[in-house]
């Protein structure tokens, strides 16, 4: 069992938990993920690592309620425990292994969307600890869905917050902010974009035009997370890759996003819609990961 030391709701439907997982905390790096199971009958849910403390042996995860599994998880409190917590899975972010002197010469831009802010945070923090201050754009649909703003501010070089509806910070999509920054004369050697698939697709479209190499982190359907099931296969540069072992980070300019988005629909079936309608009636408004409604 893996004890939950802290559990809080960051904003509506987004939760943060600090979990005791000594082996993961000792071995993990930014960019990697874990798989968690709430109890002995739960499904395996992959989540990108948001933070870790090697001394305390803890790992922080952030998740949004997108289905029954995450809904069940959200009821856990400090003092409860996860039945399973395994990792770290996937490869660390590439810069972790890069020559530090070379890395310090680079201007790095992070683009975080929604709950994707959580996996961006440890990367920016890691760079900050090496004395590198990266620019960070955080986008959210609306002010109430913004997470980890203070934490990000503490480790980012410049932080640009934007909301789709203009309720906080700048107004508009993250791509607008990227365009604004570049128009203001900023130059970037590399961009890391993590958020909803559709956001990453459009960021990549833009950065390709701007000629900024871009890394994205994919979170496709997976079961085991160790390369065994092949559910997470994605096409990158015409080659089939498994996100769990070859990724989760890939060259965004080579990812076939349309295929990846289509594959996310596999279990969002008509049957699922019917089931949820029967179960939840009019109270269900999508976002469950099964009904095909908007997240």
């Amino acid at each position: 069992m893996y004890k939950i030391l802290e559990a809080k709701e960051l904003t509506s439907n987004i939760y943060l938990m600090v979990v005791e997982a000594k082996r993961v905390a000792k071995a993990c790096y930014p960019g990697q993920f874990i798989i968690v199971r709430t109890d002995e009958n739960s499904e395996r849910i992959p989540l990108t690592i948001c933070d870790y403390d090697r001394k305390k042996g803890t790992v922080t995860i952030v998740f949004q309620i997108v289905g029954s599994g995450t809904e069940f998880m959200s009821h856990l409190k400090a003092g409860d425990a996860f039945h399973d917590f395994v990792g770290p899975l996937g490869c660390p972010s590439e810069f972790v292994k890069e020559d530090l002197a070379e890395l310090k010469k680079k201007n790095i831009l992070f683009v975080a969307g929604g709950v994707g802010t959580a996996p961006v945070y440890p990367q920016v923090k890691w760079l900050h600890e090496q004395g590198i201050n990266a620019d960070v754009i955080v986008g959210a649909k609306t002010k109430d869905l913004l997470i980890l703003e203070k934490e990000m501010e503490a480790v980012a070089g410049n932080l640009y917050v934007t909301t789709d509806d203009g309720s906080y910070g700048r107004s508009g999509m993250v791509t607008q902010t990227i365009t604004d920054l570049v128009n203001d004369g900023k130059t970037y050697d590399v961009c890391v974009a993590i958020g909803p698939m559709i956001m990453m697709k459009f960021v990549c479209k833009l950065t390709k035009e701007l000629n900024i190499p871009t890394i994205v982190s994919l979170n496709p359907i997976m079961v085991d997370g160790t390369g065994m099931c092949g559910a997470c296969r994605v096409t990158v540069g015409g080659e089939v890759k498994f996100a769990c072992v070859d990724g989760p980070e890939f060259d965004g300019h080579l990812v076939n996003f349309d295929e990846a988005m289509q594959r996310q629909q596999i279990y969002k079936t008509a049957e699922g819609r019917a089931y949820l309608k029967a179960k939840e009636g009019d109270t269900h408004h999508g976002g469950c990961g099964h009904c095909g409604g908007e997240e």
């Binding site: 082996r23 993961v24 000792k26 071995a27 199971r37 009958n41 739960s42 499904e43 395996r44 029954s68 599994g69 069940f72 039945h83 399973d84 917590f85 395994v86 990792g87 770290p88 899975l89 079961v223 085991d224 160790t226 390369g227 065994m228 099931c229 092949g230 559910a231 296969r233 096409t235 089939v240 498994f242 072992v245 295929e259 289509q262 594959r263 629909q265 596999i266 279990y267 699922g272 099964h290």
Partner: protein, 461 residues
Amino acid sequence: MDVLKKVPVREQDAKERATNFEEVCLGYNKEEAMEEAARCINCKNAQCVKGCPVSINIPGFIEKVKEGDMESAYQIISESSALPAVCGRVCPQESQCEGKCIRGIKGEAISIGKLERFVADWASENNIKPQGAEEKNGKKVAVIGSGPAGLTCAGDLAKLGYDVTIFEALHEAGGVLVYGIPEFRLPKTKVVAKEIENVKSLGVKIETNVIVGKSVTIDELMDEEGFDAVFIGSGAGLPKFMGIPGEQANGVFSANEYLTRSNLMKAFDENSTTPIMRGKKVAVVGGGNVAMDAARTALRLGAEVHIVYRRSEEELPARVEEVHHAKEEGIIFDLLTNPVEILTDDQGWVNGIKCIKMELGEPDASGRRRPVEVPGSEFVIEVDTVIMSLGTSPNPLISSTTEGLEVNKWKCIVADEKFGKTTKEGVYAGGDAVTGAATVILAMGAGRAGARGIDEYLKNK
């Protein structure tokens, strides 16, 4: 009684079992087992033992069954096998022990597998445990993977007095016995969990949720956690795909994914939180045991199922019993047929599989006649689900993070057959991680060899 014929084994009716996940074969009862055992002529130079990868004293245990002394029969099997209830169910006996049986020359071979199964089940029902070591020797061994190779190696070493810890990547111990082989062939609670309990009763510890190569490396296990030797039995987990157009479509799964969802995650049960695609018409590509398992699972989930295999029936690599059961249950065999493309609708979902007819040509390197395409014979089978069962290859997670551990061009770990010794000192390996995908019993044989190798190494250290 006709001594030339096997005592028939009771099975669930084919029509009935096609709709449930209960075990197909019901096994012998005591009377039937004793009657079958009486057919054994107790050869002096027993060929069956030579056919067994773990060299069970087969005439010895059958002799005890004849006498009705099941406890002694169990202890004889336990000397050589840690998982008799599993092997009695899933070993390809026809090409091993039973294939060499002298009785089989004129008439039918002794049902060695069914007798082994009976003895193991009897022991489990009567709470008989294998005998452990009398004294611990204080040396620590790490075993990576809790599948057949790992469990066997761990069990053997524990019997020799070693302090053994198994590290398992998934949340449940058992490896392929749990995620790969379906409930209707190998019951999880009644059989697999009990065999694992038996291994634990020998003093073996199992730590789940540890991915060696990710959570911890082999060097860390040896340098920081005090393990004197390591056995790698991590299996061959990576699924192969064909590389044909349409393979990324929604509704194309690896057999590994399909079976893991159903077996490990219990998705066959409506109450499971893990979803599985319940197709109406399913094509399973491949002809091995895994293909049969996937096909029979899809059938039980309500589909019409086609096995698409490019060679003829004779070359099907699956156990004869599995093919026989699959046919009885209504699986359709499209033999000498090879997929060339997976067809999709405008939403990216599978709606057909385009195949080409094959004919057998000259024998290839494997000695089997090579299938060649019949020009212009393409046709489409309408399906909504395609399951690729083309074999698996070893996972590079361990080999890529362990310095000094040599792999061959197929990414299989290089290890000698007799002792499982790898190119890294103190590190032994066996099972699918070394050979590529094979059988449960061959992995167990390799687990035994690894245990012998580790014992030799640590005794002299």
